[in-house]
Symmetry: C2
Subunit: 497 residues, 2 copies
């Protein structure tokens, strides 16, 4: 066993070093690399990726994983057991999917986002449809290749993004959303619109002052700048490679004050999660968030439940006014709070507010399910999309650009990913409620003591990195299985007022 453990660790170390290089190349590409350097970089990437693939598919490495998996109970290191289980699961692809088909699919999904971007630009769904059809077809084949007595069809894809969550779990969740939230949202968004001071949406908010406020927020949230940094990029994201290097980005719009504030807070939620992973996992395959849903629960809780709370702005609005004295003159904190918590029927998911967000995801979930089980054809997507948007969000897009073409995900092969976005918000409500039993969350927010929230989250969620499944994390943090009940309660309470 000793020899297989050493072999496994030796390969893992090398593979991680390559991953580090890829991580940095992608961070650079997304934040500052000069335009003309794209081809040169991708040439170097291909060479290194080939070297790395040679390691990952090395028969010695595969043998080590298999032998260790067969003798899992002989392993004393509990973390290593978890790693080996995951590594063995990862071998499914190599073993069950014909290599040629898999490589063909990689090429397809690599060029997919280019084709999607052009189609979106031109508002031309037909341009995108053939590619999307191939992607859907492959995924239908993939789930056949990977099916087991326990896991079949769309469940396999869902499980890849959120372990333990399949159609059964998501159906329960989305049925609650449909029954409880859809009518509530339609009611709330049909009320007469509140009027706000024009300056809130029309004044110019200079970039350097917005940046100053974002840096202030980093202090407020105790985001550790010794182990990360904030930079600007086209679309905000978090990019972590170890607990000591987890970076975030935001984007400043001079005519939109709220955008950068909530992007920065959202990404800090992701960032603090990985910064607070136990550092002992940095050198293992277990560093990072355990799932997309749990990751999103952290970013959504920080952004919406903390960042958009009245308690938060009671304490920090003065600093915002200090940054923008003219723009925010005579606008009371109450008005600002209402302004950043408006609920609207909108077409674009990434711009949707806290209340309507999960309905956008619901539309995508129902579509994915039918695509994979064969009930829906790619050519019928736009019709279906528009119909569901009307039904759940109360607004039908007039173009595909604002409809089915808006998201990049499917073009890269990510089917089964969207549902985790809504799940994350629901996890957040359940986790918040549980945390609130131990610490008075509103009070610590108002007292500018978010460090207390970070400390609780570290103990109950963050430190475990990938050693617990999402379901285990929920048990540890809330002593309950997942339930959407608190999410619905939270939204109804907040948006009834």
């Amino acid at each position: 066993m000793e020899q297989y453990i050493n072999l496994y660790k030796e390969f893992r170390q090398k593979i991680k070093a390559f991953e580090y290089a890829f991580w940095l190349m992608s961070w650079d590409q997304e934040t500052e690399a000069p335009n003309a350097s794209v081809d040169y970089r991708s040439k170097q990437f291909q060479v290194l990726a080939t070297e790395s693939y040679m390691l990952e598919s090395d028969p010695k490495y595969i043998e080590a994983i298999e032998k260790l998996y067969e003798n899992l109970d002989q392993l004393e290191d509990e973390d290593l057991k978890i790693e080996i289980k995951e590594a063995n699961k990862g071998l499914r692809i190599v073993k069950k999917v014909p290599k040629d088909e898999w490589i063909e699919y990689q090429v397809l999904t690599q060029s997919g986002s280019h084709i999607w971007a052009q189609a979106k630009e031109k508002n031309d769904f037909d341009m995108y449809a053939p590619t999307l059809e191939k992607i859907v077809d492959f995924n239908k084949k993939l789930v056949k290749y990977l099916e087991t007595p326990e896991l079949k069809g769309y469940d396999i894809l869902l499980d890849m993004f959120e372990e333990g969550f399949g159609v059964k779990e998501y159906d329960t969740f989305f049925n609650t959303v449909k029954e409880e939230l859809v009518p509530f949202v339609l009611e709330v968004t049909s009320r007469p619109k509140q009027k706000f001071n024009r300056r809130l949406s029309k004044a110019v908010y200079p970039k350097d002052k917005q940046s100053e406020f974002s840096h202030y927020l980093m202090e407020v949230f105790s985001y550790d700048t010794n182990k990360g940094l904030l930079k600007e990029s086209a679309h905000p994201f978090t990019s972590g490679v170890s607990s000591v290097d987890t970076r975030i980005t935001t984007h400043f719009y001079e005519n939109n004050l709220a955008s950068a504030i909530f992007s920065t807070i959202h990404e800090m939620g992701h960032g603090i999660y990985e910064q607070q992973n136990d550092p002992k996992y940095d050198d293992t395959a277990l560093h990072g968030g355990t799932s997309l849903g749990i990751h999103e629960s952290q970013s959504r809780m920080y952004e919406n439940m903390i960042g958009r709370s009245f308690a938060f702005w009671k304490t920090h609005y003065a600093k915002l006014v200090e940054c923008f004295p003219k723009q925010l003159k005579d606008i009371p904190v109450e008005e600002f709070y209402q302004y950043i918590n408006q609920a609207k029927r909108s077409l674009i998911r990434v711009e949707a507010d806290e209340l309507t967000y999960s309905l956008h995801v619901l539309v995508r979930y129902e579509i994915e399910k039918e695509l994979i089980n064969g009930k829906l054809k790619v050519k019928d997507l736009p019709r279906k999309w528009n119909q569901l948007m009307g039904q759940y969000v109360g607004k039908r897009p007039s173009t595909n650009k604002e409809g089915v073409l808006q998201d990049i995900h499917w073009s890269g092969g990510a089917i089964g990913y969207f549902p985790t976005y809504a799940l994350g918000s629901a996890y957040a409500a359940q986790i918040y409620r549980s945390m609130n039993k131990e610490i008075n969350v509103e009070k610590v927010i108002e007292e500018n003591n978010i460090a207390a929230i970070n400390a609780w989250s570290k103990e109950h969620i963050h430190k475990f990195a990938q050693t617990k499944t999402p379901k285990q994390i929920l048990q540890i943090a809330t002593q309950q299985d997942f339930t959407p009940k608190y999410y619905v309660e939270y939204l109804k309470e907040k948006f009834s007022n």
Copy 2:
């Protein structure tokens, strides 16, 4: 032959991909990587560097180089011939230096800069001396291992940094500096000091405005931001990996307006050189500047001969005043020009002005020569340093921190590097004179047409990348061998007024 060519190219491609990763890791480290990430990065670096070393020392790769070198005249591709010659020269180390000694030296010089930094901090030469002694001793052995009938002693080290330049060439150069410049500088710097408006050195120049002016300079110099970028770092530098990705940095001091301006222009000189390399060399081992001296000739010419010229500021001072209306109020361009061209006796090389700069280098050259030929011992360095500073610069340091401990170079094993700094300035004067015969340089500067200077430099210097030696570049650009005459003439004319 075909088979060796293919083998060579295959290895080269892989080695370049690793170099790309190392380049990016170092760029990231120097510009933004979070402090706490240092150890994690260096662990990944070591793993990748080992993989890369395996390639570089692979017997198949070495065999390919040797076979191609033996049959050089059979190669049709002239560029490949040059590459193979260089690659074969690179094999000297592997073949002639005992591996253990070489590795021990790598470890020594890797930790050297840490020890140097601590010793400098504490102004404690004795702390640094044992390390420096080992470095000098190894270099004395190294030149023995590498000596050939043509090249011996210090010449070998000098040639590593500037091909074709040895003690004979440098002695000629530095003797002229000693005879012509030393007395001239001592005379100029003993004149009564000019008085300047206090605001020039005492006002606050906000960072964002300095950054705006640096970006304006990038347009003025046609630095291609599609193939590079400007960022801030502790010490300004240029970092290029291909013609399509050559990045520069600068540093903004709020109390020093001139620093960032001339750092930005200096680094653009380096940057434009590599951006204008023929792109066909991007995938070869021939991309980059041909030598440190030629590289420095470009940065010094852009910084001093263009950037500090009156013609330049006649055209661009208005923009500077626009950025700093209060700070520069009532300060005429003539006064600003005089201010940025003061000559002073100073102790620190990197802060020295254009006139006195080469005298700082002269001190280091004489010391290095005596260290390697055994006439000077490390323990006697401080005494010798202070004596030469008094003699050539007219000012003796009172501490070693401001004396022999000021530069990092020797601690990393770079002996033979310093002389290229002075040589670069002298090259610049010779090249400028030659260019001025074909285009009226002052006129194009004043007409804001620096693109014409870039175009000339591309044709005569930049496009060749590493395919020509420094001596060949001088012949192409000036139809002459190197002569320090124009450098002395230029300085005497500029600083006589």
